[in-house]
């Protein structure tokens, strides 16, 4: 009786050790592993003999390297990592397109390409811009820290709805656009 309990206890400890090991291990997903589309618009992954359904596709460096180091995670509360893709461009065109589709669903950060106008009125600033996702209008609260500087020339603007807009390079804007933006820099 006693022995059995001890054995079970050892088992539990083993589970922990395994989990700890799993946690620190780094698996690489390469072109050898297969992704497939589901009917509902998600993807499954076959990896090391297992099928993972509806995996999560997560960027590890969304700002600095959006297409490198993509973490593929299980689709549940814990979202355990299955593996990491070092560079999307190393994958086949088809897989790449599949994953990019997922990334589009998971990340929506329009990049501002042109500023038509910025109007400030009583504490709020109203932007009318062209982004890589099309033309749009949004408003920010001037009192809060709506604008975050990622670097000297790179900005993230958070609007009232918590949408995020990116300006990749402030210096690439025209003089006139920069003047409009000046208030927030």
């Amino acid at each position: 009786m006693k022995e059995r309990e001890e054995m079970a206890d050892n088992n539990a400890l083993d589970i922990y050790e395994k989990e700890a090991e799993e946690m620190t291990a780094m698996h690489k997903i390469t072109d050898k592993d297969r992704f497939e589309r589901t009917g509902g618009g998600f993807v499954n992954l076959f990896f090391k003999g297992n099928l993972y359904e509806r995996v999560k596709v997560v960027r590890l460096f969304p700002f600095t390297d959006a297409d490198k180091y993509i973490s593929i995670r299980e689709n549940d509360e814990k979202a355990k990592e299955i593996g990491i893709i070092e560079d999307l461009n190393d994958l086949s065109e088809e897989t790449k397109e599949m994953l990019k589709e997922q990334l589009r669903l998971n990340y929506f950060t329009p990049v501002i390409q042109k500023i038509y106008s910025i109007k400030d009125e009583y504490g709020y600033a109203y932007f009318h811009v062209l982004t890589n996702k099309g033309e749009c209008k949004f408003a920010i609260n001037m009192a809060s820290n709506a604008v975050t500087k990622l670097s000297d020339s790179r900005l993230i603007i958070m609007d009232l709805d918590e949408n995020r807009f990116e300006i990749r390079d402030v210096n690439a804007l025209t003089q006139k656009e920069r003047r409009k933006l000046d208030l927030f820099l």
Partner: protein, 721 residues
């Protein structure tokens, strides 16, 4: 928040509705299949179907009866609505962060329809942008710009109503001020015409001078009285508003406060009421006087010399346009300066509060350089601005004086041609100067009024909140026995993020329940619900069989004792803090409670004993000491229901053991909830509840859970192994 948008007729016409079918929800989605912004696309939920309307037609229709589940998943910068058909989850629409909360409600609504019920989900959240005018709404229900019912004038009048007398007094003084101000130039004219040019005697001159003198004194006195009266009035109004707001905050459910940004509510008490006071002091007290004087000023000018008056008026728009443009650029550069100033101070704060880290990594020099760069930039901006100001301030005075120059030039001709006499010209000049002064003053009005409207709207937003039958007479007084029932309880702080889902458990009176689970799973949330701090979204929480919503808060709270994870001590003495839960406690009771919490000894060691001042600026207590005071506070009332959230986590093993022993005696026969990461703390618990994945994953006695070899078993092994 709108869940059923008014669809244009041509969209409604495309939706096939069978008999007994109606539109439940219609909400836009703003991202298309290619991940581009899109407009005019809608998700429409009817009694039996989900339609997706895109590019002027219905592109997809899903039968609700084929679905098993709808889910609004929050993603980065947006989200997706999925439905599960058969076994397969399927993306329906993609939307930006603007609609995140909206779709959480829609998903809830669809799930209700799937389950065969027909209730309609409603949302109490506010829109952030006005759907009518597209302006941002300052955290209130109605757009201050568009709302008719809560319009500015009405709000202002409602606020002013209790102060009728005060307002009337200020009003009378304003009229007096206007009359005295306008009379002065008239007397001056007579002085010039009748005395100086007409050769009147010394006596007449003295009479005019005396009138002028008394008028001037009168103006000063009236103005002093007026500012005094309006300052007093403003202070009284803002004080009353502050008090009303504060009381309201205490009555409002925490979820209301939770929905608002931290600091925002504070600002409503401090800044908004201050703004109203300042408005009363600086603007209101002059408001009618200025209008009154302005109108008479214009009339007098026209009576005196219509040609000259019209000439002057022509310059007004030019001056106003120039002044406004100038002001805009001033606003701009000074705003820049504030921003830079903010940068510098927040950077400084960062470095100072992180000093230990900076020093540990030897980064002092790098930080100093960074700070220097910021500070240089700031001082450059400041220098530039001061220069700008120095150059342009005289220019604005010049602009304001332009009208006077026109008057002197053309009026001078008239005097030479004897169409006007010198006294009249002088009087006219005085009126011109007054005119521009008041125009300058009035040009600030739109801005001030908008600010006032926002402030009033924000204050009213709080004051007009309906507080749900909190402590109404119809609510029951209770004598808690301690039976707690969670019945399908679901709750989330944000509508699109459930923290606890479908919690079911019956706790018997006198039972001690240990709660364990990973960090962030919702243990503290569970007890927040138990304390009645938040309302459950779905399901019920019953205390001795009565819904917690139907129990009188005060009577309930007086019977529970709580030690929270974040021990909070008010600024005040130790005795104040312990007595907080029972203000009329005797010294005897207090000392007994402190002893039980193992706090008496360390309190005795402080120089001021129980009168030691603690809190932010006071005597600093260690984490464990604070916790012990909180425990003393919790047990002082001899509560029927005891809640301990990591109550002994910051204590050393010995203190914990001692308190455990004391608590055992205390918790005997009382329903107790104890959250702990250290399982040894829960040795005496009758049952253990394991929270995982938003639910109760396991519940049972220590032995039962060990035997079932689940999460608890693993935790147990990890802690003893």
């Amino acid at each position: 928040m709108i869940l059923h948008y008014n669809l244009p007729k041509k969209i409604i016409d495309t939706i096939p509705l069978s008999e007994n079918e109606r539109i439940y929800y219609a909400v836009p989605f703003d991202i298309d299949g290619e991940g581009q912004w899109t407009e005019g696309s809608y998700l429409i939920v009817t009694t039996g179907k989900i339609h997706i309307y895109e590019n002027e037609k219905i592109t997809e229709t899903i039968e609700i009866k084929n679905c098993t589940k709808a889910k609004a998943e929050a993603k980065v910068g947006g989200g997706i609505l999925t439905v599960t058909i058969g076994d397969e989850p399927r993306v329906l629409v993609h939307y930006s962060a603007k609609h995140l909360s909206r779709y959480a409600y829609i998903a809830r609504g669809i799930n209700i329809l799937i389950s065969g019920r027909f209730e309609e989900v409603e949302s109490n959240e506010y829109e952030k942008m006005c759907p009518k005018c597209g302006r941002a709404i300052p955290g209130t229900k109605n757009c201050p710009h568009c709302s008719k019912e809560g319009g500015f004038l009405k709000n202002f009048l409602r606020m002013a109503k209790p102060y009728k007398k005060g307002f009337f007094g200020v009003f009378v003084l304003m009229v007096l001020a206007a009359v005295t101000t306008l009379l002065n130039p008239e007397i001056q004219k007579h002085l010039i015409n009748d005395v100086l040019r007409g050769g009147g005697g010394m006596k007449q001159a003295l009479v005019y001078l005396a009138i002028m003198f008394s008028l001037s004194v009168g103006i000063v006195i009236v103005n002093i009285l007026k500012s005094n009266a309006s300052t007093r009035l403003g202070a009284r109004i803002s004080e009353d508003l502050r008090m009303a707001l504060f009381q309201k905050y205490q009555e409002l459910p925490l979820s209301f406060i939770n929905d608002r940004r931290p600091g925002e509510l504070l600002n409503r008490i401090t800044q908004d009421t201050t703004f109203i006071r300042e408005f009363m002091e600086d603007v209101f007290c002059n408001l009618f006087a200025v209008f009154f004087i302005f109108i008479w000023d214009v009339l007098f000018m026209m009576i005196l010399n219509i040609k000259l008056a019209l000439l002057t008026f022509v310059t007004v728009p030019i001056v106003v346009v120039m002044v406004l443009a100038f002001r805009k650029s001033v606003h701009r550069i000074f705003h820049l300066q504030y921003k830079k100033n903010d940068d510098v101070s927040s950077d400084l704060q960062d470095v100072i509060s992180g000093m230990r880290v900076v020093k540990t990594y030897g980064r002092e020099e790098a930080e100093a350089n960074r700070f220097k760069a910021l500070s240089t930039e700031f001082s450059n901006t400041q220098r530039r601005n001061e220069t700008f100001w120095a150059i342009f301030n005289p220019i604005i005075s010049f602009l304001m004086g332009m009208g006077a120059i026109v008057v002197v030039y053309f009026g001078g001709w008239d005097v030479f041609n004897e169409k006007m006499d010198a006294g009249e010209l002088y009087q006219f000049m005085t009126y011109t100067v007054l005119l521009f002064q008041y125009i300058n003053w009035m040009s600030w009005l739109p801005r001030t009024l908008t600010q006032l409207t926002s402030s009033l709207e924000r204050i009213n937003d709080i004051l007009s909140q309906d507080v749900k039958k909190l402590d109404d007479a119809e609510l029951a007084e209770v004598d808690i026995k301690g039976e707690i029932t969670f019945d399908h309880a679901t709750f989330g702080y944000k509508s699109y993020q459930p923290v606890l889902e479908d919690i079911n458990a019956v706790i018997k009176p006198g039972e001690m329940i240990g709660i364990v689970g990973a960090s962030g799973t919702g243990k503290s949330t569970l007890i927040n619900l138990l304390m009645g701090l938040y309302e459950i979204d779905d399901g019920h929480l019953l205390i001795d069989g009565t819904d917690i919503r139907d129990i009188k808060r005060k009577s309930y709270h007086s019977q529970i004792g709580v030690v929270l994870q974040e021990t909070f001590l008010f600024s005040g003495t130790i005795i104040d803090n312990i007595r907080f839960s029972k203000p009329d406690a005797t010294y005897d009771e207090i000392i007994r409670a402190a002893k039980m919490a193992n706090a008496h000894d360390f309190i005795s060691r402080t120089p001021d004993g129980y009168n030691t001042y603690v809190g932010e600026k006071g005597y600093s207590l260690s984490g464990g000491e604070r916790q012990r005071i909180a425990i003393a506070r919790a047990i002082l009332t001899n509560p029927r229901l005891l809640i301990l959230d990591e109550a002994t986590a910051s204590l050393d093993t010995e203190s914990e053991f001692m308190i455990q022993k004391a608590l055992e005696r205390l918790t005997d026969g009382k329903t107790t909830f104890a959250i702990a990461h250290r399982l040894s703390t829960l040795k005496k618990a009758d049952r253990i509840m394991v929270i995982d994945g938003h639910r109760i994953a396991e519940i049972g006695t220590h032995e039962e859970l060990l035997n079932s070899r689940g999460i608890y078993y693993k935790l147990h092994m990890a802690q003893i192994g």
